[in-house]
């Protein structure tokens, strides 16, 4: 099986989806000739033509609004927002239109669109290029929010997102675009949405994360195992709707949980998971649920960003605290 990077896996999935379904259209800034600033759409315009791989004007609201209009008439648009810091003009379209088109027309019109965007910090990018505001999106009823953490899951989940009959925001961990490599068979096989992936099994503590933060989370699990702590690591993968069953099942086994995310602490999606475990898993808990997250500050620029993101050390320390609780 060929080994590819995460961004190459995204590219493979887009190509496969366009090959399989003439209704799939890719649009965004620089996605055509340039192949996207991260090359996620490289070669697609050459293969599928400029009508289906479309360089839009520099207008993010427009990109999301075009997707809604196209999708409501039966196309399957895949819009690209160049960085998550530029997704905010799209919120009106996501909240007021994409996520509720099906519901407010009682199924008469639907919105099978995907909005892709790079997510997170750690590539020494300029200001506004390192956002991880997934909790805002996961709060929107009617939407799906998906974030892969490996090339294999990027390929399988993106295919599933494009085939899904409802709108999906697909967050791509920028830091893993080239850093994560893995074997991907370009066989058109999708992975299930709304399901978490257990990346590592363990009986002592559950570490829950998503996106690039799983890299440090997995390293932390390895470090903990050297201390005799067997950590289970869950990649939530779909934040909305998230896989309650896998989370509860793991908590029932371990009784301890640390949630890891790069986004700021207060109101982050970890708060949702923690509240859910408190509501539905309290009897299993042996210790308070803990969050290891970005701080409640503006995401710092390149010189300080590594101090902002959850480090292996902070995750290990958090897990130790939870394991020592009595």
């Amino acid at each position: 099986m060929p080994e590819v990077t995460l961004v190459e896996a995204v590219n493979l999935a887009l190509g496969r989806a366009m090959e399989d379904d003439p209704d799939v259209v890719v649009l965004g800034e620089d996605v055509g000739v340039n192949g996207g600033v991260f090359r996620a759409t490289a070669g697609l315009q050459k293969r599928f033509g400029a009508e289906r791989v479309l360089d839009t004007p520099l207008a993010e609201l427009l990109i999301s609004g075009l997707c809604v209009g196209m999708a409501a008439q039966g196309l399957k648009p895949v819009g690209e927002i160049q960085f998550m810091g530029f997704i905010y003009p799209c919120l009106d379209q996501l909240v007021n239109h994409a996520s509720r088109m099906r519901n407010r027309t009682q199924g008469r019109l639907t919105c099978p669109m995907v909005l892709r965007t790079p997510h997170g910090a750690g590539i020494r990018a300029p200001e506004h290029h390192s956002e991880s505001t997934e909790a805002m999106l996961a709060h929107i009823p009617g939407l799906r929010v998906v974030i892969p953490s490996s090339p294999e899951r990027a390929y399988g989940l993106l295919l599933a997102a494009i085939r899904d009959p409802d709108p999906v925001v697909f967050l791509e961990p920028t830091r893993l675009y080239r850093a994560a490599k893995g074997e991907v068979q370009d066989d058109g096989e999708a992975l299930p949405l709304d399901r978490a992936f257990v990346l590592r099994e363990g009986r002592d503590i559950t570490l829950i994360g998503w996106g690039a933060a799983l890299k440090e989370t997995m390293a932390a699990a390895e470090a903990l195992s050297a201390e005799g702590i067997a950590a289970e690591v869950i990649d939530l993968a779909t934040l909305k709707p998230y896989d309650e069953r896998t989370v509860l099942g793991s908590i029932a086994k371990t009784g301890r949980c640390v949630i890891v995310h790069e986004a700021a602490h207060t109101g982050g999606f970890g708060a949702e998971i923690a509240a859910f475990i408190a509501e539905r898993g309290l009897s299993s808990l042996l210790a308070p649920v803990t969050r290891v997250t970005g701080y409640d500050t503006v995401i710092p620029m390149a010189r300080l960003e590594q101090y902002y993101m959850p480090s292996v050390e902070r995750i290990v320390a958090g897990a130790r605290r939870v394991c020592q609780f009595s």
Partner: protein, 365 residues
Amino acid sequence: MASRRLNQDLPVIARFEVRHRNYLAPDGSIIRPLPAFASDAKLLIALYRAMVLLRVFDRKAVALQRTGRLGTYAVSLGQEAVSVGTAGAMREEDVLLPSYRDNGALLWRGVKLEEILLFWGGDERGNCFSGPLHDFPFCVPVGSQAPHAAGVAYAFRLRKEPRVAVCLFGDGATSKGDVYEAMNFAGVHKLPVVFVATNNQWAISVPLRLQTGSETLAQKAIAAGFTGEQVDGNDVVAMRAAAEEAIAAARGGEGPHFIEAVTYRLGDHTTSDDASRYRSVDEVQAHWKEEPIARLRAYLVGQKMWGKADEERLATECHDRVEAAVERYLATARRRPETMFDHLYADLPEVYAAQRRELAGEHDA
């Protein structure tokens, strides 16, 4: 104005014009030769009837709201010719993207009166209507449907379908980036889309002069690379003619067009508004002299196409139609509460299905 700041010796590299279209004067007299369709008495009468029905319907809807049987409602009083004239030029297969005040267009396209009442009565089923299934529902967030129209038109282009997207919004919407971004994109790709701005002079309490420094709204199309024209929006013949030409051109591959329909909102913004707070009775009274229904009636009567007996018959017919629709609306049972989850996703994820069961009183074991 700006030219005063510029050296008159510099060469002019572009010139633009905005034209104004009208056929019928406020008293129903003819200003210039009418378009061909106006020789079809049946068509003119159909436009007239649609405007009268809308006005009768609006009056009833407000009465329902005042008596607690309808939610907030936006009347079309004074601007009926814009939505009716525009929709009157569309084909069934074209796609309408209306704003919340475009009842006239929806009704023309086959949406039932009781469906509109259902929507304003707070029931989503009003959006699952009997008009063309591909038409968009009312858009409440101002101007946000304009990018949809561009997307719809792009889909037509991609599939080589000879269809046109027709997008209606108000003068306030022309201040929003949504509208500019959509028009800009439509201009780039010469998409089959027609934008119609209902310039009724007021965005709730904010007058047009605080909305834009432009002499016209129509000229905004020029910056986007296509044509814009100003139309007397109280002249339904002009509205129908402008829309017909624009839609035919768009269908023929000539690209987008922008229509600024100049009219006046004679009523409040909605039933929640009191326009006397921000504009004078005298101003409103002056505009009553220009309203579209009396204007077309004067023309039709002058042409012996319409008479007193017709008017009386129409009044009775509209009254009866509206009353029957209201009865059907009021007789429509409320949906079961848990149906708020229906059509949220194609398949309701299990996590939300549990909430639906809870609402339905079917608690999990």
